[in-house]
């Protein structure tokens, strides 16, 4: 039997995928584990691997095509089977049997398909895989709107995965029972990019080129989620200036001592630890809006906005570091580096991008003074970090030079009030200004 390979579901929210690049061609032998193609999902570009051995008999979709989950994208000839036979059989996709591709195959392979009409009729009327259109009862649809539950994030328990009343009620009350204890953030989000490292300064262009750029899946998701956040979450921002002299000095000292161990702490590592420790004292900021309740989380999982390089299609992703309140600077540093590297080079898995309880968006490396970030729902708070810039500081009535860093909290006002946010910022400021506390 020919082996059909369908567009796989590579993330919880994926509904369709774009085939960026085929790594194999017709006639190639493949074995399980081989990297067949690159597929772009709504979040990231992932490798499509072979699960079985075979020979490529037919490539069903072209590079650049976007197809729904479940649609056949290629056919392999199995053991002892000729490529020609495999290519001729099973012409249409198992998904929607429409579209020019299926039609063309139908007419060109009349003979081969003639003995299979019953089968294709059957598969056409069979329940569709749970990709594509979401099945939902009228009542559940109404309840989801009332309670602000995203239907795409729910697995229905009715017939054929139909989402029904109890699924909505469960999702609304549990917030995130589907994916573990922490709320599943969609990973791709919020504010300006961060930490891309070597953003090359633009070379002096002599002319600009006008062009229209097709949206990538990730760009669509970023757009959708940010519009959703900015239009449905009542944002407010509170800002504080933090004197960074002590922290920069401490960092420099530590890095000299740790140099031999090949450890280099970044300012961001200190900030992450301070954000987590301060959140332990003000748990309200480490919360999620749940429609008719607020979930305060028992751990601080920080989502870090990471800008992706242009070669990987640009955009930004939000890897998550879990349990930051229990981790030391060295571990935070190592995990951040590893995740950022993975994000830029090979792409993150959906698990590595979900479960954040608070977010940090750091634009310090670009020299910008301040950023007012957009919240990454369901997080209630995101911290925007500016660059530590040398400024004229008034100290004991004297103007002296000093490093000042602008920290801006954007909060969901349904969850966090201004005073609470300001108290949190006060704690955070004090921790950053007296950084020895971050070492213990």
């Amino acid at each position: 039997m020919p082996i059909t390979i369908e567009m796989p579901r590579l993330s919880d929210t994926m509904e369709e995928g774009t085939l960026l690049k085929w790594n194999v061609g017709v006639g190639d032998k493949v074995s399980a584990g081989d990297h067949l193609a690159d597929v772009e999902t709504d979040k990231a570009t992932m490798e499509l691997q072979a699960f079985e051995d075979g020979t490529v008999a037919r490539i069903q979709i072209n590079e650049g095509d976007t197809v729904p989950i479940g649609e056949v994208i290629m056919v392999l000839a199995g053991d002892g089977e000729s490529v020609e036979d495999a290519a001729a059989a099973e012409a249409p996709s198992s998904g929607d049997a429409e579209g020019p591709q299926a039609d063309a195959d139908d007419t060109s392979s009349d003979d081969a398909a003639a003995d299979e009409p019953a089968k294709s009729a059957e598969s056409a009327s069979a329940p569709k895989p749970s990709g594509g259109k979401i099945k939902v009862s009228p009542l559940a649809r109404k309840l989801a709107e009332e309670k602000g539950v995203d239907l795409a994030s729910i697995q229905g328990t009715g017939p054929d995965g139909r989402i029904i009343k109890r699924d909505i009620l469960k999702a609304a009350e549990g917030g995130s029972q589907q994916s573990g204890s922490a709320p599943a953030s969609e990973g791709v989000i919020s504010t300006e990019p961060i930490g891309a490292g070597t953003a090359a300064p633009a070379t002096a262009a002599t002319s600009l080129e006008a062009k229209t750029i097709k949206l990538s899946g990730m760009r669509k998701t970023i757009a959708r989620r940010l519009v959703e956040s900015k239009t449905t979450v009542p944002h407010f921002s509170v800002s504080a200036a933090v004197s960074m002299d002590a922290l920069l000095e401490l960092r420099s000292t530590l890095n000299q001592q740790l140099d031999a161990q090949n450890v280099k702490l970044s300012v961001n590592d200190f900030i992450l630890r301070a954000v987590a420790l301060a959140a332990v004292q003000h748990p309200v900021v480490n919360s999620s809006w749940g429609g008719d309740s607020i979930q305060q989380h028992g751990t601080v999982n920080i989502g870090i906005a990471v800008a992706l390089p242009e070669e990987r299609g640009g955009g930004l992703v939000v890897p998550v570091i879990n349990d930051v309140q229990n981790k030391g600077l060295r571990q935070i540093s190592a995990e951040t580096k590893a995740l950022a590297k993975k994000a830029r080079e090979t792409g993150l898995s959906p698990e590595e991008m979900s479960g954040s309880t608070i977010a940090v968006s750091n634009i310090g490396m670009y020299g910008s003074e301040m950023v007012v970030p957009i919240i990454n729902p369901p997080n209630a708070v995101i911290m925007g970090i500016g660059a530590a810039l040398q400024q004229a500081v008034v100290k004991d009535g004297q103007i002296v030079p000093g490093y000042v860093m602008r920290v801006t909290l954007s909060g969901d006002h349904r969850v966090v009030d201004g005073a609470t946010a300001a108290e949190y910022l006060q704690t955070l400021t004090s921790m950053l200004e007296q950084p020895a506390g971050l070492l213990v």
């Binding site: 009862s137 009228p138 559940a140 109404k142």
Partner: protein, 347 residues
């Protein structure tokens, strides 16, 4: 006024309704096969010829076309006939009079006169009478504008609805059930539970006790699923509700009592509360009253439904004579339990 120790069979309730109305209004008379000397084939009119005499309790030959037509003419003339069909299955030969003429008379006379005739008799299968005797005609007749149609499920409803129908200016069809005529007899186990509470009490011993046509009755309130029915299957629905209560499913049983007029608002408000609906109908499924009720539920409650409306019907075949097969075709308690579980995603 509720006489709490009074026990009345369904057939006695029908008789009492006719007696009271005949005493109240001398235009009322009863006609049908064996209703006088033999006291009714099912003893519904027992003793009536003694009280009212053979001019008002009239024995007719086996001639449905003739005596149904006579009833329609008498009503047009100003009398208040009650025409008894021994079985509603036999009325079909008189279809021209009872459904082509009677319901349209008020319209066709430009409002000058109508046809306040009452037609009543046994309806539905369940007594091994073969397929020509086992019609459930509610779907067939509910189709026609201009008539009122009741399917009473208890002695109290039988009395109150029949009295209202006799007083009504429109043609009124009362669909009774041979299987229910003895219900409510003294010591009847099934009847005992109806004695609790006002709604379940026997009919008031009151000349002016009537039940308004077009008002459904919530026979049992519940929060998890609405079961809509009428007539005999209401009892299956109540039995199903009792069984399901043990499994934690709280069923609401709505007895429509009259299919025409249909009290869709009571049904809809129940469905809006429970979000699930099962419609139980003793007639055939195609183009049936159950289909009509389901469609109206969709029209009014679409956004409150968490599943499709499930219908429980008589099987779409002529009634078999064989007892086991006949029972298997009818709506029953087990089918209703299964439907409620399926519709509430508890199957």
């Amino acid at each position: 006024m509720v006489a709490s120790d009074r026990k009345l069979q369904y057939r006695e309730a029908l008789r009492e309704a006719m007696q009271e109305e005949m005493r109240r209004d001398e235009r009322v008379f009863l006609m049908g096969e064996e209703v006088a000397e033999y006291h009714g084939a099912y003893k519904v009119s027992q003793g009536m010829v003694e009280e009212f005499g053979p001019r008002r309790i009239v024995d007719s030959p086996i001639s449905e076309t003739g005596f149904a037509g006579l009833g329609v003419g008498a009503a047009m003339y100003g009398l208040r006939p009650i025409i008894e069909f021994m079985s509603w299955s036999f009325c079909l030969v008189a279809a021209d009079q009872i459904i082509n003429n009677a319901p349209k008379m008020l319209y066709m006379s430009g409002g000058q006169f109508g046809c306040p005739a009452v037609f009543r008799g046994n309806n539905g299968a369940g007594g091994q009478l073969g397929s020509t005797h086992s019609w459930s005609v509610e779907s067939l007749f509910s189709h026609v504008p201009g008539l009122k149609l009741a399917v009473p499920s208890t002695p109290r409803d039988a009395k109150g609805l029949l009295k209202a129908g006799i007083r009504d200016e429109d043609p009124f069809f009362n669909l009774e059930s041979e299987r229910m005529l003895g219900m409510g007899a003294r010591g009847d186990k099934d009847f005992s539970r109806y004695l609790k509470g006002g709604k379940w009490a026997p009919p008031e011993d009151d000349d002016d006790f009537v039940i308004e046509l077009g008002v459904a009755d919530v026979k049992k309130s519940g929060s998890d699923c609405t079961v809509v029915s009428a007539g005999r299957p209401v009892h299956f629905a109540l039995e199903a509700a009792e069984a399901l209560e043990k499994e934690g499913i709280d069923v609401e049983v709505v007895d429509v009592r009259t299919y025409r007029p249909l009290d869709i608002e009571t049904i809809a408000s129940s469905v809006r509360k429970t979000n699930y609906a099962v419609v139980v109908d003793q007639s055939w499924p195609f183009a049936s009253v159950g289909a009509e009720v389901a469609a109206q539920i969709y029209e009014r409650c679409f956004d409150d439904l968490d599943n499709q409306v499930i219908r429980v019907h008589n099987d779409d075949v002529p009634a078999p004579y064989n007892r086991e097969m006949e029972q298997a075709c009818l709506p029953n308690t087990k089918k209703i339990i299964e439907a409620v579980k399926a519709v509430t995603y508890n199957a």
